[in-house]
């Protein structure tokens, strides 16, 4: 599916608005799901989604096919934009970044929880082992590096690395099983 997206990115790079519309139709909801899990706020998520597509539009030339598939590139734009939003919002509120314990998957505003519960029917993450789910949450939705996760959880860096891999392997396995 994603192999056909490289020409779309190239078209966006050329200023083709229709190509961007096609990308939005294909991935807007997926990126919105990621963003919503990061920012835990419906309004902020929509703002971040807009910013994400504007960045895709502006920076299409920066996409390098040799470094990964188009979705990975767009996903990381969405994640980074969302994570930046959360961190700057935290700074604005003069509060420290919420502790990892408080900010686990599924915890947030009720409307967000409702949306995510609807999506959760199809979300295999709920079937992950708790420690894998926590790692996915930290690495994927909060953008922490493995060193930061190790610092925040008190786990050895080697354990964080192997557990990240184990979590992704379990995710891949679950995706296969629930296909």
């Amino acid at each position: 599916m994603s192999a056909n997206d490289a020409p779309l990115i190239a078209a966006v790079q050329q200023g083709d608005q229709q190509a961007l519309a096609t990308l939005y139709d294909a991935y807007g909801a997926a990126l919105h799901g990621i963003i919503l899990r990061v920012v835990q706020n419906t309004d902020l998520a929509q703002e971040v989604l807009q910013d994400t597509f504007v960045k895709i539009w502006r920076n299409a030339a920066a996409y390098d096919p040799s470094k990964g598939r188009p979705f990975t590139w767009m996903m990381n734009i969405a994640r980074n934009t969302a994570i930046d939003m959360v961190r700057s919002a935290a700074v604005r509120h003069s509060t420290s970044i919420r502790s990892l314990d408080d900010h686990v998957y599924g915890v947030g505003h009720d409307d967000v929880r409702e949306k995510l519960d609807d999506a959760g029917v199809r979300d295999v993450v709920v079937h992950l082992k708790p420690e894998h789910r926590e790692l996915i949450d930290m690495a994927y939705y909060q953008g922490y590096s493995q060193q930061e996760i190790a610092d925040n959880t008190g786990l050895p860096l080697g354990t964080v690395k192997s557990r990240t891999r184990a979590a992704l392997l379990e995710l891949r396995s679950l995706l296969k099983d629930h296909r």
């Binding site: 519309a21 990975t72 996903m75 922490y144 493995q146 891949r172």
Partner: protein, 266 residues
Amino acid sequence: MNADELIRSGLLEAYVLGRTSPDEARSVERMRASDASVRGELEAIEAALEEHALRSAVAPPPAMKAVILGKIAQEPRKADTPVIPISSEQKRPFNWLAAASIGGLVLSGLMNFLQYAEMREVRTELARLENDRSVLAEELGVQRASFQQSQEQLAVVMDPRRRTVWLNGVGNALGAKARIYWDKDAQAVHMDPMSLAELPAGQQYQLWALVDGKPVDAGVIAKGDTAYTLQRMKDVPNAQAFAVTIEQEGGSPTPTLTAMVLMGNV
């Protein structure tokens, strides 16, 4: 670190999520380029995350698409901000319009030059024709005057009321001849000098009418170009003979009889 160790290390997952240091990223990319299993593992991780994202997708509000496309439309058009090469030899796109206008200008200039040259030629020709025309007009005037004179002379000569009086040479001018056409009713006298010898400056032939034995001035004979054409003399009402003498230029009140050259009786 070999391929298997890299795959098991969890670094590939961190790489896909963009959470590796620049050094780690470089080593992953190096292994990806050289090792098929690393390549396959990275693709599997990417595919898993994409599938996960698609499965856990949350549809944004329907209006969001129009909002985003509206924002995109307000972005400066990419075609308006081309990357300008730093090279001094900046290739400009060939401007057909400019080329066409320059071509048109050159063509127009050429046409102007040709037309100017042609116009100058036409002007020269026109001047030549104008000159020819004036020459012909002048000639026509001369011919017309000549014709008129001839007509008048012919009329004089042919006039049945005129008498022709022959004058014959006398003394030194023996052999010379001249004619007089005299209309006695109108008293008009015309003279055809014919072959009178040319006179030096200061002298002029003068015609005399002999009326009852006395010479009466009948006018001097013209000198120069009109010397030998039929010419109107003074009116003479009555005469028995005509004579021509050589007098001072302008004529004399009385004839110098010793200088008589022509004589003829009516």
